[in-house]
Assembly symmetry: C2
Homo-oligomer: 124 residues x 2
DNA sequence: CAGTATCCCCTACGATACTG
DNA sequence: CAGTATCGTAGGGGATACTG
């Protein structure tokens, strides 16, 4: 079985970790444990609901750990698990690629869109 | 600017490349150029519509190249661009991670779900 | 503080049919 | 063969309000 090939299970897994907000949250959590509202501040565009949802999913998949610091004062902390840290390599590779090739992609898009416009103008 | 941090542009870019089917298609295309219907056969779960959509997006982002082989006989081929091949490193890292840690994640899920059930049973 | 609960929208995706 | 066009649905995500 070639590892260039993705099985259904792998895709499911990757989807869980690569949804809209996970990468951002993981990036924050990598720097150290954070409280719920700290995460909100670090990723201001996210809503409470999506944050809670994303954290739950990451927790369920063993990527992140939820730690109750104090029952009486509602203090909870999220931190990376070992499994979560193991994800750092691919995450890093992805982020690196994206920042390295942003320019190229933008050029490609511009040229693709220009061609589209040209075609539209040619056959109205 | 720490590269552990994801900017909006990077997220957009990654989203384009990591939608539901892209990784699978990229994996196939990496093995060599493929025709439209060949791709359908290689990724049988995908619908025509989604395949067309995904290919367009990948083409627009410069990841994949669409080549008309013969106008009269509707022969078209898709192949990786240089930019597309540059994505192989992160893609590989991701696939590798997924296959390496499938077990761990499945265990984590099972234990999370078991805890859920336990809680539900405790307070009906 | 750390979340749920609700409502609502929107679009990604699927199924099916059609076409140059 | 290589796609569009159209319709329909599920759920991801936002806004807002509420709670232990």
């Amino acid at each position: 079985m070639p590892d260039a090939c993705l099985l259904g299970d792998q895709r499911d897994l990757i989807d869980q970790v690569l949804d809209k907000w996970s990468l951002s949250i993981l990036a924050v959590l990598l720097r150290g444990p954070h409280r719920f509202n700290e995460l909100r501040r670090e990723v201001p565009e996210i809503t409470q609901k999506s944050l809670a949802q994303t954290l739950k999913r990451l927790e369920r998949n063993g990527i992140v750990e939820r730690i109750v610091l104090d029952t009486r004062h509602f203090a909870v902390e999220y931190r990376m698990t070992a499994l979560g840290r193991s994800f750092e390599a691919p995450r890093q590779a992805l982020a690196q690629w994206a920042s390295d090739h942003l320019e190229d992609v933008n050029k490609a898009r511009a040229s693709y869109d220009a061609d589209d416009d040209a075609r539209a103008a040619a056959s109205p």
